[in-house]
Symmetry: none
DNA sequence: ATAATACACGAACATGTGTCCTATGTCAAG
DNA sequence: CTTGACATAGGACACATGTTCGTGTATTAT
């Protein structure tokens, strides 16, 4: 079985499918051995081997030494399941429009300051409205807010200048998640990928032209929220 | 501490709050000992004791002997979060909701067929709803429809697999616009940049890995619509 | 052909983790 | 005061679970 350096092998897909479904069905992730069973592999090390690859490819993330801590970042389902999934998503009760407070502009490149006090105040006129049916059902509406992106530091994550990002308030984040963070010393807010390393926190832009920001002191940084949705208006020529 | 036969004690609430937040932040549930730490209790048995009560009261459920298998059935959050939740709920204006028919899936990579008849039929239940405030005011609502993107041929245009694109019906397009086109011979629909050249029409993917499609006969191609908006849900770990 | 790499197995290991037993303290009711 | 239900602590125990190492075998590159 030759394997490619790029793309998912058959095993990768099987594991990812199993992870997606198991997690969805049980609310917690399977253990290494349960994953092994699902693909008829006795060796736990082999499963670990594939899991590391999937993590490297950003399909999952896990917390070292913590059992059942696998998170599926990019759900993978067989085509059949995908369709029914989409249908379920769409078919969900469309009854509810959600106003998400739009707090202002966030710089994805060079960070710019956003007064923290803004978070406290909510002006309904400057809100972004979206249908609840568009959001994952688990999202608690109260914790959502919107920002307009300025800068191009996240283009590799398909987030462009001018896009509107919907975020969920959060104080913590898992590795690899896209977050808006407030840099206390600089009094600036910026949009980056979040990575916690040994003693430091790395804020990684998705554009190789930008260098990551390293934070030694955890107090110097406050996570404002995680990105849950991106909305972009595409300009067209016609009126 | 006083005992209760009914209702949640202070400890119950603390545990439930911790469970709710931990699960949301991490995507997996805490261990018995982590729960103990959160309420400054050293004894695992005591945590187990409370967990059993919470399970009996249907606030959580767990899988026997499976680590980190606690599921929060009734999320419990501190009063502060609850209040702001209620406020937002009240403050939102539900006046202008637009239902956009969602016709199906469009392949941005290898095109797949979408029966043309689908375009005729409009099932309001399978729609995507968007607040009018998000759309350019000139858009005529009746001309809009939505598709889910499959494939990665448009990644350089920041459109990814799984994104939802909102299109406006159109029969023509200007050079450089992103359009959904129906390839008559193949009976396939696909998402591409549109370029009219001397005698041919070039359908250009935004991913250099894909080759453009050249169309000699203008009749072999029908423009279905132009992309006016892109919506993407970003997966996060939290459940 | 040979080396390097990717894939695979199994077992050993440390420790994470749920379960359960015993003991002690507290307080209201009998 | 005694009793008993509840609350709390500590810890032993079994086993679930992630990690790592040694070994072997294909496949690919040189």
């Amino acid at each position: 079985m030759a394997r490619r350096s790029e793309g998912l092998s058959d095993r990768h897909k099987k594991i990812l499918t199993f992870l997606t479904q198991f997690t969805e069905n049980n609310g917690y992730s399977p253990s290494i051995r349960e994953i092994g069973d699902s693909i008829s592999v006795k060796s736990t090390s082999l499963v670990d081997y594939y899991l590391n690859q999937l993590e490297e490819m950003k399909f999952i993330s896990r917390e070292g030494r913590v059992s059942r801590s696998i998170r599926v970042l990019k759900p993978y389902l067989p085509a059949s399941a995908k369709v029914s999934n989409a249908l379920r998503q769409v078919g969900r009760t469309i009854d509810d429009l959600i106003a998400i407070p739009r707090l202002g502009v966030i710089q994805a490149g060079q960070p710019i300051p956003i007064p923290a006090s803004d978070l406290a105040y909510f002006d309904s006129e400057s809100g972004v409205e979206i249908a609840r049916s568009l959001l994952p059902s688990r999202e608690k509406v109260s914790d959502l807010f919107a920002l307009e992106v300025q800068g191009d530091s996240m283009i590799d994550a398909s987030i462009n200048d001018g896009d509107i990002v919907i975020l969920r308030q959060a104080q913590e984040a898992a590795n690899g998640e896209m977050v808006a963070v407030w840099l206390v010393d600089r009094d600036e807010t910026t949009l980056k990928y979040f990575y916690r390393e040994k003693d430091t926190i790395r804020l990684q832009p998705a554009n190789p032209q930008y260098a990551p920001i390293m934070i030694d002191n955890p107090k110097a940084l406050r996570i404002m929220g995680k990105v849950v949705m991106v909305i972009r208006q595409v300009p067209t020529v016609a009126g």
